[in-house]
């Protein structure tokens, strides 16, 4: 007798395997094209590709993504410097005062923004700065305008993108600390701040560092929240003392704008920028995974 059940099982398993391999084809193709086109673009203008400014179309010169690399680095660093301490502080509060009303409200509001359409975060930052400007004008009666298109507002937008993710991750890490460790810390007479900073954060550092690295790699690849905030610039702006209040470019904005252009040089530049961005994001990601694995081994 034919083993119908066994046959069906084999057929289905084979079908699943084929369906499972299917999604890898575009991803592998994407990798392949980014690497090939990117390396080609960079090799056409090496090492100028890394530090020059955007070329003029028709000049035959590919690249110059220097200002974009610096821009991404600045935006991401500022967002990280604001976002990481902020999310650690509120995550500590939420893990220490689980039943506090403030924690409950915070949980609802912050997780609202978790995995959220980032273009809205850009819009909201733009709106927030408008509100702040109105408040400054009305209540402080001084004529100061916070620039809407600036490094600062771009960083704020990125901070808000990374905050919910970090908050949820760090809070989970802290809440999963065994109660015995909490008792040990508090039995030594440590304040909540000291216990968290010297013991709990150290105890959970593996998973927290992983979350932070993944959060950084996330915001590094964000475009939409920067459209109305960082705005984009094709020049080096950091030589200007007030550059924090001026627009700045980023690798992602450059890929978006150059990729949509008709010029060969600019499209090649976009591929080169994509290659650099991919390299940056993935190396952070791989480091994060490595640390995570180490954390599990502990």
């Amino acid at each position: 007798m034919i083993d119908l059940r066994g046959l069906k099982s084999k057929v289905m398993v084979a079908a699943i395997s084929i369906l499972a391999i299917l999604p890898f084809i575009p991803i592998v193709h994407l990798f392949f094209t980014v690497v090939v086109n990117g390396i080609y673009a960079i090799s056409q203008n090496f090492p100028g590709f890394f530090y020059m400014e955007r070329s003029i179309p028709g000049s035959g010169v590919i690249g110059g993504v220097g200002p974009y690399i610096i821009g991404t680095a600045i935006l991401v660093s500022i967002a990280t410097l604001i976002g990481v301490p902020l999310s650690i502080l509120i995550a500590i509060y939420a893990s220490e005062f689980i039943q506090s009303r403030l924690t409950n409200v915070g949980d609802v509001i912050i997780t609202t923004l978790f995995e959220f359409p980032t273009i809205i975060i850009g819009l909201m930052t733009f709106a927030l700065i408008s509100v702040l400007n109105d408040m400054i004008r009305i209540y402080l009666l001084i004529d100061v305008e916070l620039p809407k298109f600036s490094v600062l507002s771009g960083s704020i937008a990125l901070t808000i993108v990374m905050l919910p993710f970090l908050y949820v991750q760090i809070k989970e890490s802290l809440r999963s600390i065994p109660i015995s460790i909490r008792e040990a810390a508090y039995s030594l007479g440590l304040s909540r701040i000291k216990a968290n900073f010297y013991i709990f954060l150290v105890y959970a550092r593996g998973s927290i560092v992983t979350s932070i690295l993944i959060a950084i790699s996330k915001i590094m690849g964000e475009t939409a929240p920067l459209l109305f905030t960082a705005f984009g610039s094709d020049f080096y702006t950091i030589s200007d003392p007030g550059f924090l209040f001026k627009p700045i470019g980023s690798l992602t904005l450059a890929i978006y704008n150059l990729g949509l252009s008709p010029y060969e040089e600019w499209i090649a530049t976009a591929w080169g920028a994509a290659f650099i961005l991919l390299l940056m994001v993935l190396s952070l990601y791989i480091i994060a995974r490595y640390i995570a694995r180490g954390a599990y081994l502990r």
Binding site: F97, I98, Q99, P178, S180, I181, R182, E183, A184, A185, Y186, S187, L188, G189, L190, S191, K194, Y198, I199, V202, Y203, R205, R298
Partner: protein, 248 residues
């Protein structure tokens, strides 16, 4: 040394401890025993107010340690003067042996110099009978020690704060008999320098080490007395049933 007056503890709507009154003299071992769920751990954690890290707990009454009402003092100061050892050995696993012991003195700024810190750590480890075993591996993570060693490390950690009282919450329940034996010896030795409050559900252990015994049942303090009195002529029927193993 420790005086507990009219202590009541609730968790949400349940009363965990009901009107506890207790006196503990200086430099003795007092054992609180009772079946699980009787509130012994809660009573122990009330003394250094560790109970307050659990949300939903409400405490009423007074506890004096060395003449100070702990509920009027700062929590940090209270806990600093009272060492505690737990059921599960809980050194911070990814910190070194040295750092685990140094943690309290360092973070509470009890020492002025590095050398003073080293002296304290050495003293505490010696007192905990651990120094000889670890003196050459102080930089290794605490997680590498055996269970009994970890528990002695926790005792050293508590001692390093130079406390007047040490609370022990079933410190041997997760250890093998050999390690248990060593800890028990250590306790008797420790009472020369501190007052020990021990929680156990093992009457035999209570009989071996304690000077005084308190028997707790369903949140009430049933009987308090010297060790010999409780184990030879308990006044209460419940106490007798418990030490003879008929409830528990």
């Amino acid at each position: 040394m420790i005086t507990i007056k009219d202590l009541n503890v609730w968790y949400r709507d349940n009363k965990i401890l009901d009107n506890i009154n207790l006196d503990v003299p200086r430099n003795v071992i007092l054992t609180i025993m009772g079946p699980s769920g009787s509130g012994k751990s809660t009573l122990l954690r009330a003394i250094n107010r560790l109970i307050e890290i659990y949300p939903g707990v409400r405490v009423e009454g007074e506890i004096y340690v060395d003449g100070v009402n702990v509920f009027k003092a700062r929590t940090e100061d209270v806990r600093r003067n009272i060492g505690m050892v737990f059921q599960i050995p809980n050194p911070i696993p990814n910190m070194s042996i040295f750092d685990n012991v140094a943690l309290g003195p360092k973070l509470n700024k009890l020492v002025k110099s590095e050398s003073e810190l080293r002296d304290i750590v050495k003293w505490a480890l010696e007192k905990a009978y651990l120094w000889d075993e670890v003196k050459n591996r102080l930089k290794e993570p605490a997680a590498k020690l055996s269970g009994g060693q970890q528990q002695r490390l926790c005792i050293a950690r508590a001692l390093a704060m130079k406390p007047k009282v040490i609370l022990m919450d079933e410190p041997t329940s997760n250890l093998d008999p050999v390690a248990t034996n060593r800890i028990e010896e250590l306790m008797v030795e420790l009472k020369k320098i501190v007052t020990v409050v021990l929680v156990t559900h093992n009457p035999a252990q209570a009989a071996r080490v304690s000077d005084y015994v308190a028997f707790l049942y369903k949140g009430r303090l049933v009987e308090v007395g010297s060790s010999s009195q409780i184990f030879t002529s308990p006044k209460n029927e419940l106490t007798e049933k418990y030490i003879t193993g008929r409830i528990g």
